[in-house]
């Protein structure tokens, strides 16, 4: 049998991040200050981000050096293995070769600490004492809790209410790394109090939790804000995934034909995809197909509009040009909490809009069908978010009429999501959808303001 795990040495850990914006014919549109309508400047972000991250956010440089201190922490679990899915291929009886980048090996169990460590490092260097953040299913919150503890920073996590209830072990993991965790919306911020008054039974959303975390950072001098996805610098930190995957494929003399990743905010997807899209843009792999996958319950890329919108519900962030379902959209309480975001990274949105990436959406039950097949062939029990990518991989493999190489980001394990799996096995998972036609009809009846 051909190799299963394709590994790299620690000294093969990438030394630079790749910024795909440098290779794009047109860059994504800049974020705007909602008050002035002008592109934001560093001074707009300085109250909540350290200057190094602000520079990365607006950089046009193709390569940005990764500090040794960050690489040192990454050595605990990186480079992550690229695994050939022999057993899944056999079960599907497919002509395709399937590889997955297994990011579940990190201490928090997903790709998130790739950027959490970087962000904690830069905040530490800037003298910040505490970081506030939001988390959906808890993957990001636990990654930041892990990273802040390493650099001896305090961490406050606003966890989306429905996930706080659904994923108690994620909350316990954050406590294990010394973070304080609150069920959002809370009574600790004005944003939280307002939502609690208007919608006391809300299941919460990432949009609301972001508002709370941003308000916390903006109102405390010793506190900065850290975001788990969406922004350029976060997407760029994750390119370590794709850069390693390129080297690993070279080792087995293979070349990617299809790149697939699930997308909630866009960072794990673009982390794998960006270096390969770079190959597409520079003519090294012009025929590459790239697919971003989301839930039908929160179909930002497949049913959203490409427009400027706030990144959070309380309208505290700048306006971002992205695919959006509206900043007031509260996605239904699906188990893939990390994909419950009304927007999408401006970078990923731009790539879709320009035609480099296509988007797919699947229902919750068929996603768990895919997760079950993956667990029963490859052995790994993966996160519900990650299972969206697996569903798309299975479809691509089943439809493959000739040999092709599919590479996907296996972004996290599902060890803390077993209650979701149980609900699926009990047949109690609802396949939520976004009734686009009815929403259009509803909006058409709104008064038109000249």
């Amino acid at each position: 049998m051909e190799e299963t795990k394709i590994l790299l040495d620690e000294n093969e850990l990438p030394k630079k991040w790749y910024n795909v914006i440098a290779d794009l014919p047109t860059p994504p549109a800049p974020p705007l200050n909602p008050g002035t309508g002008e592109p934001i400047g560093p001074e707009d972000l300085a109250p909540i981000f350290p200057m190094e991250l602000i520079k990365q956010e607006v950089s046009q440089d193709k390569w940005i050096a990764i500090p040794e201190e960050i690489r040192d922490i990454w050595r605990i679990w990186r480079p992550s293995p690229l695994i050939r899915a022999h057993r899944l291929e056999k079960a599907l009886d497919t002509k395709a070769k399937i590889y997955y980048k297994w990011e579940g090996v990190s201490p928090p169990g997903s790709h998130k600490p790739n950027t959490a460590v970087a962000q904690a490092y830069y905040n530490m260097k800037a003298g910040v004492e505490r970081i506030s953040t939001e988390t959906g299913a808890g993957q990001w919150g636990s990654a930041l809790a892990f990273a802040t503890k390493i650099f001896d920073l305090k961490c406050t996590v606003y966890m989306v209410r429905v996930s706080y209830d659904q994923k108690p072990y994620r909350k316990m993991l954050m406590h294990a790394w010394g973070a304080e965790v609150h069920s959002s919306p809370t009574n600790l911020t004005n944003a939280g109090k307002k939502i609690r008054e208007e919608h006391p039974d809300t299941s919460g959303s990432l949009g609301i939790a972001i508002s709370e975390a941003v308000e916390d950072a903006a109102t405390h001098d010793n506190t900065n804000y850290s975001l788990g996805s969406v922004l350029n610098h976060v997407c760029m930190h994750q390119t370590v995934i794709g850069l390693e995957a390129q080297k690993q494929l070279e080792k087995v003399e293979d070349k990617a034909d299809v790149i697939i990743g699930c997308a909630g905010g866009g960072s794990n997807f673009s982390g794998l995809a960006s270096p390969f899209i770079g190959d597409m843009l520079t003519g090294k792999n012009p025929g590459l197909e790239v697919i971003a996958v989301e839930p039908t319950a929160c179909p930002t890329m497949t049913k959203g509009v490409f427009a400027y919108d706030f990144g959070d519900t309380a309208q505290m962030t700048p306006l971002l040009k992205m695919y959006t379902l509206g900043h007031d959209f509260i996605p239904p309480a699906i188990h893939a909490g990390g994909l419950r975001y009304h927007g999408m990274a401006p970078l990923v949105s731009h790539l879709i809009h320009e035609g480099y990436v296509k988007a797919e959406a699947y229902h919750q039950n068929e996603v768990f069908d895919a997760a079950k097949l993956f667990a029963q062939t490859e052995g790994l029990v993966i996160a519900p978010e990650t299972a969206h990518a697996v569903k798309s991989v299975i479809e691509a493999a089943k439809n493959a009429k000739e040999e092709k190489t599919i590479v996907f980001n296996c972004s996290g394990h599902g060890n803390f999501d077993m209650s979701a799996y149980e609900t699926y096995y009990e047949g109690k998972l609802l396949d939520y959808e976004y009734p686009e036609d009815l929403i259009k009809q509803s909006l058409a009846k709104l008064p038109k303001v000249e």
Partner: protein, 365 residues
């Protein structure tokens, strides 16, 4: 040789398409309104799935109370009771007394909750009972999902491949029902052959939504997407009534009312009245909510939405709404219009609007 008691209520279901909410004591009124008897057709459909060479014998009643259907379906039978010219509940009960004396293993009846109640009164839980759904109201849990499923269950029972479980016999107070008041009563617990895919659940009357905001959000969203110059037929139940409340309009709880440009233009309509309105309007939609726990979108309690009405409106113009709580208790939906080809047009899944800008896709059995 073991035997199965077989009984058809020839007047069951008469009230449905003419909006009478039930048929007890109203057969003449229903017939005057143009209602056509349906139970024989439903019973024949059920018998199609039962193999002719069975080791059980059928005991039944003369004429339209069972014999004619069994003979049409190609089964031999023994008639043990002869009813009067116009059959009544008393005939059902007398026939069941004889079935009981003859120690039948199972009683199959074509009817609704009223007939179920009559059968249960005589046999209690001593003899399993199974209903071919042919009435207006079928809240009880002793009915098969549809006539074909009933035939499957009879076959499985005879082959001893299905167990009999407790099943609620429920009925509503029909007089109160006609006054727009829903008042159900549990008559007792019968035994019925049970298979998840074939036996219907007892209906839950959801008097209060655990999350009151959920119904409000759903009603608000539904009201927001109802278009102008379009006829909307709102089906029975508290969920559709909540939509009317958004417009501050008084909808009948248990009837089909029609909306047009934010006004009610018809209340508690029969099939005939619905068809008349459809002839004079080009755009129309139906908004219905499935029966709680049972999950019937069409075929239970809203037979005014006959196959003719549904074909005229169009399957794609049917909007199903339900709160998340109802959906959690109703994992699978059913459509039993009486027209199998029409039922099939609904596909394998139905979209159910369940909140503000929210829907869920449910399996349709």
């Amino acid at each position: 040789m073991d035997s199965v008691g077989f009984i058809v209520n020839p007047l069951a279901g008469l009230g449905g398409s003419v909006g009478l909410k039930g048929s007890d004591g109203l057969a003449d009124e229903a017939l005057k309104r143009g209602a056509k008897p349906n139970s024989e057709k439903r019973a024949l459909k059920a018998l199609e799935s039962v193999p002719k060479q069975i080791l059980y014998k059928f005991l039944t009643c003369r004429g339209s109370m069972g014999e004619s259907v069994l003979k049409k379906a190609g089964f031999s039978c023994e008639t043990v009771y002869t009813p009067g010219k116009r059959t009544t509940a008393s005939d059902t009960k007398k026939a069941c007394e004889i079935f009981k004396e003859q120690c039948v293993s199972l009683i199959v009846f074509a009817g609704g909750d009223g007939t179920a109640r009559d059968v249960f009164e005589v046999v209690g839980s001593e003899i399993p009972i199974l209903g071919i759904p042919a009435g207006v109201k079928m809240h009880s849990a002793v009915f098969a999902l549809n006539p074909k499923a009933c035939g499957e269950l009879i076959k499985l029972f005879i082959e001893e491949k299905v167990e009999c479980l407790d099943a609620e016999v429920i009925d509503v107070d029909e007089k109160a029902y006609r006054r727009n008041v829903l008042s159900t009563k549990l008559f007792g617990i019968a035994k019925t052959p049970y298979m998840k895919e074939a036996t219907q659940a007892g209906k839950t009357v959801l008097h209060a939504e655990k999350n009151a905001h959920a119904l409000e959000d759903l009603a608000k969203f539904t009201a927001s997407f109802m278009e102008e110059d379009t006829l909307y037929f709102l089906g029975a139940g508290s969920t559709t009534k909540a939509v009317a409340d958004e417009f501050k309009l008084d909808k009948t709880l248990l009837g089909v009312d029609t909306f047009f440009n934010d006004k009610i233009i018809g209340k508690d309509l029969s099939e005939k009245e619905i068809l008349k309105l459809l002839n004079s309007h080009s755009k129309s939609k139906i908004i219905v909510s499935p029966t709680g726990r049972q999950g019937f979108v069409f075929g239970r309690g809203n037979q005014q939405f006959s196959p003719k009405v549904l074909r005229k409106v169009g399957v794609k113009n049917v909007i199903v709404i339900a709160t998340p709580q109802k959906l959690k208790e109703t994992p699978v939906l059913h459509v039993d219009t009486g027209d199998l080809k029409l039922d099939a047009k609904f596909g394998k899944h139905l979209r159910v609007v369940c909140g503000w800008k929210l829907a869920a896709r449910l399996k349709l059995s």
